[in-house]
């Protein structure tokens, strides 16, 4: 790059970087540090007890388990949706494409009550499942449904651009070498998509673990059964147990930071594999 010299033509470096760092510190870094300071003041035993009480452990199992399954469902159907949107033309396609972003735009509380209305036992979908003995609303299954809803666009929107950029010639070469359509997908297209698909999966998973608004209405929030981890923080705050809330928050934050590192790595891998800029 020609810009590696120390001479700067453009103005405003000190001002813009100073403002960026100041604002970042005030809004994000200092308040986040408060959580770790608070946790540090608890002492290890107190922290450990608060972070691993039976009810909290049950919430980890539900939050992480349901988030993993939801991200898996999203990886399958998100890939399918992205494929259909890129490769085929069908009526209403533009509308479908635009509406994939609905979970980004729709307030989570609205999504939460709408999903509850649909999956409650007198709801449009719930009433169909009721005779089959399947209860969704107010069970862990309801948590899963909400997490699938909010995670879907992450997979579609990470896979879609890679699919669009794919040249037809690789598949043509595969076919000319005798591969059938499935083999061409399995051995030519899928390996190219895989880093992006994994990134989408990780993004959906990360979002699902921290999600609150869309889940609490449909979950029923039964202790030890359908309480998610963010709800444990709220519950403890309502009891003025700031130490207990902080302990759970620290566990969630450490997990988020680890996932953020993994996602950054995955995105670098995607960029390398497909030659796309990050």
């Amino acid at each position: 790059m020609a810009s590696s010299t120390s001479f700067r033509v453009l103005p405003g470096f000190g001002l813009s970087l100073g403002y960026t760092l100041g604002y970042l510190s005030l809004i994000v870094l200092i308040p986040l540090a408060a959580v770790f300071f608070k946790a540090g003041s608890l002492g290890f035993d107190h922290f450990w007890d608060a972070a691993t009480s039976p009810r909290v452990l049950a919430s980890y199992r539900l939050s992480f388990g349901a988030s993993l399954i939801a991200a898996g469902i999203n990886a399958v159907f998100g890939l399918m949706l992205a494929w259909v949107l890129v490769r085929y033309s069908f009526p209403g396609k533009r509308l479908v494409d635009a509406q994939v972003d609905l979970p980004f735009a729709l307030p989570t509380a609205v999504a939460g009550i709408a999903l509850t209305a649909l999956y409650a036992k007198n709801g449009w979908i719930g009433s169909l499942l009721e005779p089959l003995g399947i209860k969704v609303a107010f069970t862990p299954l309801g948590v899963l449904v909400a997490l699938v809803f909010i995670g879907l666009p992450f997979v579609v929107r990470t896979v879609q651009p890679i699919l669009e950029d794919l040249d037809t010639e690789y598949e043509e070469a595969a076919v000319s070498l005798g591969a059938n359509r499935w083999q061409a997908f399995r051995h030519v297209v899928f390996p190219t998509l895989f880093p992006a698909l994994l990134t989408g999966f990780a993004l959906a998973f990360a979002r699902a673990v921290g999600e609150y608004g869309s889940v609490i209405f449909i979950a029923g929030n039964i202790p030890m059964v359908s309480e998610i981890t963010p709800l444990m923080i709220i519950t403890r705050l309502e009891q003025y147990d700031y130490a207990g809330a902080t302990a759970v928050a620290v566990v969630m934050l450490i997990f988020s930071f680890l996932l953020l590192l993994i996602i950054n790595g995955l995105q670098a891998w995607t960029a390398k594999r497909t030659g796309r800029a990050r």
Partner: protein, 298 residues
């Protein structure tokens, strides 16, 4: 962009390219089977919830719907939501521009680390985002005693709601602008400076026209999140009716009081906002696509 919403990209239709060649085309049965499966999933998870909001909102008729919206508590919730967005969006817009300018126009150490830090609010659970402000400004927090001595309320008051909203919408504009301004390079700006333009002139006449669509895209996503945020705001609000309730919190209260029609009526206004956001988003993508085609032709 961990946890971020989609980055602006063009809207070209690629289907024709793939469907015109035998090697990249599936048999009709496979194609329509996949479309049917993908669209059913879409209908169950994305279409039906949106329809349900409006059906439930009008279940008890227009009058109930209308009354739910002109109720004084609803009106004050709408005002507070607009206020929170009116403060947080401009703040994060200015930050986004400053961050993108420093990161994309200059070289310095730790740039990638800085980008990761800007991303942080996207990977933090909304509930934790609220909690951190309780720990700083709450009664037992760092500034709690000082604030109560000076009779300033942040938590369970409007400033806390604004702060939490600023936090959760923090990265939106920066995240749209950084990749865009990175791709544009800095030759045009450097040429303007050499020709005698001053700092702000460079920005207004050279940089801004190049990134205006991305900027707008970031702003509408930021605004949608600011108006719709629930978890973070819920922690700092204290749910005081007519005072610290935003629209999403008002929806929750009505719903928990079994006033379902009223809850969905307020929710339908938020759903309408989401639909408007998606429409503007598609429009911006189309404009950006056109701008890109024009500059390629030149």
């Amino acid at each position: 962009m961990a946890g971020a919403a989609a980055v602006l990209h063009g809207t070209a239709d690629h289907a024709a390219r793939f469907e015109s060649k035998a090697a990249t085309r599936e048999p009709g049965l496979v194609k329509w089977g996949l479309i049917a499966l993908a669209l059913s999933f879409f209908a169950f998870f994305l279409l039906l919830p949106l329809i349900a909001v409006f059906v439930e909102a009008f279940r008890k008729g227009w009058e109930t719907y209308f009354n739910a919206l002109v109720d004084p508590d609803a009106v004050s919730a709408i005002k507070l939501t607009l206020l929170a967005a009116a403060i947080s969006v401009p703040l994060n817009l200015v930050f986004g521009v400053a961050a993108a300018w420093s990161i994309t126009k200059f070289d310095f150490r730790g740039k990638h680390f800085l980008i990761t830090l800007i991303d942080l609010p996207f990977s933090v659970s909304p509930v934790v985002s609220g909690l951190i402000y309780v720990l700083v400004f709450g009664a037992q927090g760092w500034f709690g005693p000082w604030l109560s001595d000076n009779d300033v309320k942040v938590i369970f008051a409007v400033p806390g709601i604004v702060l939490a909203t600023v936090f959760v919408t923090f990265p939106f504009v920066a995240r749209e602008l950084i990749p865009l301004m990175e791709a544009q390079g800095k030759e045009e700006e450097e040429a303007a400076v050499v020709l005698g333009a001053r700092g702000w002139q460079v920005f207004w006449h050279v940089t801004l026209p190049n990134v205006k669509w991305g900027l707008m895209y970031g702003v509408i996503l930021c605004n949608a999140r600011a108006m719709g945020e629930f978890g973070a705001v819920s922690v700092v609000s204290g749910h005081i009716r007519g005072y610290t309730n935003t629209m999403p919190l008002h929806v929750e209260i009505l719903y928990n009081e079994y006033q379902f029609a009223a809850a969905f009526a307020v929710a339908s206004v938020l759903a309408l906002l989401a639909i408007v956001t998606l429409v503007i988003k598609v429009w911006v993508e189309r404009q950006a696509g056109k701008a890109a085609t024009v500059s390629e032709d030149e």
